[in-house]
């Protein structure tokens, strides 16, 4: 592999993994927010 190949591999892996982690965080964030809203609105109805 040439020098730029190693650079591309490093940058590609790092930013790919960070974007995947960001996506998983957003998903967990939205799930938790939806659950919390659901519980709060249930409480309001009681």
């Amino acid at each position: 592999m040439r020098a730029w190949g190693f650079v591309a591999a490093a940058y590609g892996i790092v930013w790919g993994v960070i974007l995947l982690y960001l996506y998983s965080l957003k998903r967990r964030y939205n799930q938790a927010a939806a659950k919390l809203n659901e519980l709060r609105s249930d409480g309001g109805q009681r």
Binding site: A3, Y11, I18, L25, K35
Partner: protein, 235 residues
């Protein structure tokens, strides 16, 4: 309620946008503007990822250390949530540092991995905090899990000074610091455009880190609120 959440949501949005801009400028400077290294050539550009990644990992473990200490002292849940969030992101950046280092090591040292003191201690650091996350998920009682994790979070932090000093204490393949040297100022040892690329890249990573941490911390807070509401309903 929606109005209360709005300012925090806006702050996160601004932080995310700033991180995006800084990362984009950092990438441009690292890959286009900065010159190739006189000895290593283009492959040295991996440094603009490698150094910010490990510094962010250290910062994260420092927050685990602080959060864990405060939790053991005051028993406030928010400190445990901070330590947990920081540990998760610290593991991510430590793993990335090892991967980048491996990719950089192959063309410069001729090997993907070697049991050099600094590399081995960094791998141990990763294992300690993977253990921290596993410990939290294996102990069912939440308070016991938080206490055990806090103790491990504090002990694990002691590995960081060892990693930093390893290049002075042992004969290692890993080079000693080029920038944070005790005998020279950063700009005396590194080309100004390389130092600029590194600084912008670090600022980008730092802003991104605080954006990720704010999201992960809020997830922890919301999970805590969900649990409290469920308990209240059950009671």
């Amino acid at each position: 309620m929606a109005k209360q959440l709005q300012p925090a949501h806006n702050r996160k949005g601004i932080l995310g946008a700033l991180a995006l801009v800084a990362v984009a400028v950092g990438l441009y400077w690292s890959l286009v503007v900065a010159p190739p290294d006189a000895y290593q050539g283009e492959v040295q550009r991996i440094m603009y990822l490698h150094l910010p990644s490990i510094l962010i990992a250290y910062l994260s473990y420092f927050l685990v250390f602080i959060g864990s200490g405060l939790y053991l002292w005051k028993r406030e849940k928010r400190d445990d949530i901070l330590a947990h969030a920081a540990a998760e992101i610290g593991v991510l950046f430590t793993a990335l540092t090892i991967i980048e280092g491996s990719i950089w090591g192959r063309p410069t040292w001729g090997v993907w991995w070697t049991w050099d003191a600094r590399l081995t201690l960094t791998a141990i650091l990763l294992l300690i905090y993977v253990g921290y996350l596993m410990l939290r998920s294996l102990i069912e009682d939440e308070n016991r899990a938080a206490t055990a994790a806090a103790v491990l979070g504090i002990i694990g932090f002691l590995d960081i000074p060892l990693i930093h000093m390893s290049v002075y204490w042992w004969r290692t393949l890993h080079q000693p610091p080029s920038i944070l040297r005790p005998d020279k100022l950063p700009w005396e040892n590194v080309h100004p455009s390389m130092l600029t690329a590194l600084t912008i890249s670090f600022v980008g990573f730092l802003l991104l880190y605080f954006y990720l941490l704010s999201l992960r911390y809020r997830i922890g807070e919301m999970r805590q609120e969900i649990q409290a509401l469920r308990l209240k309903r059950g009671a």
